[in-house]
């Protein structure tokens, strides 16, 4: 009994209460310390492209708002980072748009054989993510059934059959074509006998909807007509992807897979420099080439000469002559985006 009384007395004494508090305090401290340690051990290593990103790069301004000195610093940071990451001398150009140039593109759909060399050349030239899981291709080639482009066939089908918006032609002589095709065909040999091919990429619109919707003004139309993206400023909201009526933009869901040996070291700040996770990218008409007077990778590699790049302000350019003399159509002209990428037939 006395022992029990003693126990009860001891239970109620301040010394015992302090002991319980001490125990809880110690337990909390040790738990916190061990959790911190576990978190540090278990946190993944930073991805390659972001490992060396400095505070300065992280907090740099929108490219258009930078002074010349700030641009130079930004470029120097990138050159240093890319050279270290890829183990080769990387150049990052910042050539501005050339005066008196407005780029236009024309593609002869009768000549295209669907070889997709333009796709592969674009991937190689523009440092796109590759590999089975993270393949990004700025150009996609749609396979169409042959015969759909003939006006004669269309006439024989009778008109009108379905109501819809028609621009050009008239009710008795329709001038349109219906594209019913598939992407990412896998033919053993091209061109296939019963197929036409329609490559698609960014249309470099004069009134780009993607530029309108960008909440941070990271994508914009340069004076030479190319719609570019400041990758460091992109927040990855994907509004532009939703706005683009040509579905020409691609998002980096993961860290881009770009092997060092395959990396093209000649880059442009607004073009083919290596991107990072969470940013949008698209065709830029190879700004790293075109602003130095060269053809784009796709134009250069096309084995049949179906692709033409030119200056819309120069009446003697290929594109202007094509517009003047050939049968030309644009994709989704009804949306008034004024694409500067035209398809033509002889």
């Amino acid at each position: 009994m006395s022992k029990l009384n003693n126990k009860q007395n001891n239970k109620n004494s301040p010394a015992e209460e302090v002991t319980r508090r001490d125990f809880l305090r110690k337990a909390g401290a040790y738990s916190a310390a061990s959790l911190t340690g576990a978190a540090m051990l278990l946190s993944p290593k930073p991805a390659r492209a972001t490992k060396n990103v400095t505070w300065a790069e992280h907090f740099q301004k929108n490219y258009r708002l930078m002074t010349d000195e700030e641009k130079k610093e930004a470029i120097d940071r990138l050159v240093k980072r890319y050279s270290e990451e890829f183990g080769k001398t990387v150049t990052v150009d910042d050539a501005p748009a050339m005066d008196g140039v407005l780029f236009g593109y024309a593609l002869n759909i009768q000549k295209c054989i669907g070889c997709r060399r333009c796709v592969k050349a674009c991937v190689a030239e523009n440092n796109q993510s590759r590999g089975d899981k993270q393949q990004i291709e700025w150009i996609r080639v749609m396979r169409l059934e042959k015969g759909k482009f003939s006006e004669k066939d269309r006439d024989d089908g009778g008109y009108p059959q379905d109501f819809g918006i028609q621009v050009g032609g008239n009710a008795y002589k329709p001038a349109g074509v219906v594209l019913e095709g598939q992407h990412y065909y896998e033919a053993d040999k091209v061109p296939e006998k019963d197929a036409f091919y329609l490559p698609m990429q960014c249309m470099q619109c004069e009134k780009p909807p993607c530029v309108k919707v960008c909440p941070v003004r990271t994508t914009y139309r340069d004076p030479d007509g190319i719609v570019v993206i400041d990758y460091n400023w992109c927040i990855g909201c994907r509004m532009c992807i939703g706005a683009c009526p040509y579905w020409a933009r691609r998002f980096n869901w993961g860290e881009p897979d770009l092997p060092a040996e395959e990396m093209n070291p000649k880059t442009h700040y607004l073009g083919n420099r290596p991107r990072m996770k969470g940013v949008v990218e698209k065709c830029t008409f190879c700004v790293q080439r075109t602003r130095k007077g060269r053809w784009t990778g796709c134009v250069e590699v096309c084995p049949v000469g179906a692709r033409k790049l030119g200056n819309l302000l120069d009446p003697e350019s290929d594109v202007r002559k094509i517009l003047a003399t050939k049968k030309v159509f644009r994709l989704r002209a009804d949306l008034n985006t004024y694409p500067k990428f035209f398809y033509f037939m002889d």
């Binding site: 959790l35 946190s43 032609g169 219906v178 990412y184 002209a333």
Partner: protein, 110 residues
């Protein structure tokens, strides 16, 4: 050495209540309250960072959708829409007007 370190930490975390002297000077009281504050602050910081680390681990372990599916979905986006559209040849007048608008727009912007 480990035992000594643990003992030192224990002593720092929970000083002997018997050592509290009601007659201690004001300076001693101030020092004790500052020490208590710093102790709480350090424990709080360790707890917050530990909790943050655990939260990151839990979030990272949530299964993400297949990346290949995401990229493929982007690449195939709009296939149906584009396939169902009718594309119309431009008339000569449309082409002339379009080119003129490009030229005018360029001159306006410059």
């Amino acid at each position: 050495m480990l035992k000594r370190s643990i003992a030192a930490i224990r002593q720092w975390l929970s000083p002997d209540p018997g050592a509290r002297n009601p007659g201690a000077s004001r300076e001693d009281a101030l020092r004790a309250s500052r020490r208590g504050f710093f102790r709480k602050a350090a424990l709080g910081a360790a707890s917050v960072s530990g909790a943050a680390g655990m939260a990151k681990v839990v979030v990272d372990s949530v299964p993400h959708p297949d990346q290949k599916e995401l990229y493929t979905k982007d690449a195939h986006a709009g296939e149906q829409e584009l396939a169902e559209r009718e594309y119309v040849l431009m008339s000569d007048r449309e082409k002339r007007e379009m080119v003129q608008s490009f030229v005018d727009n360029y001159q306006d912007q410059s």
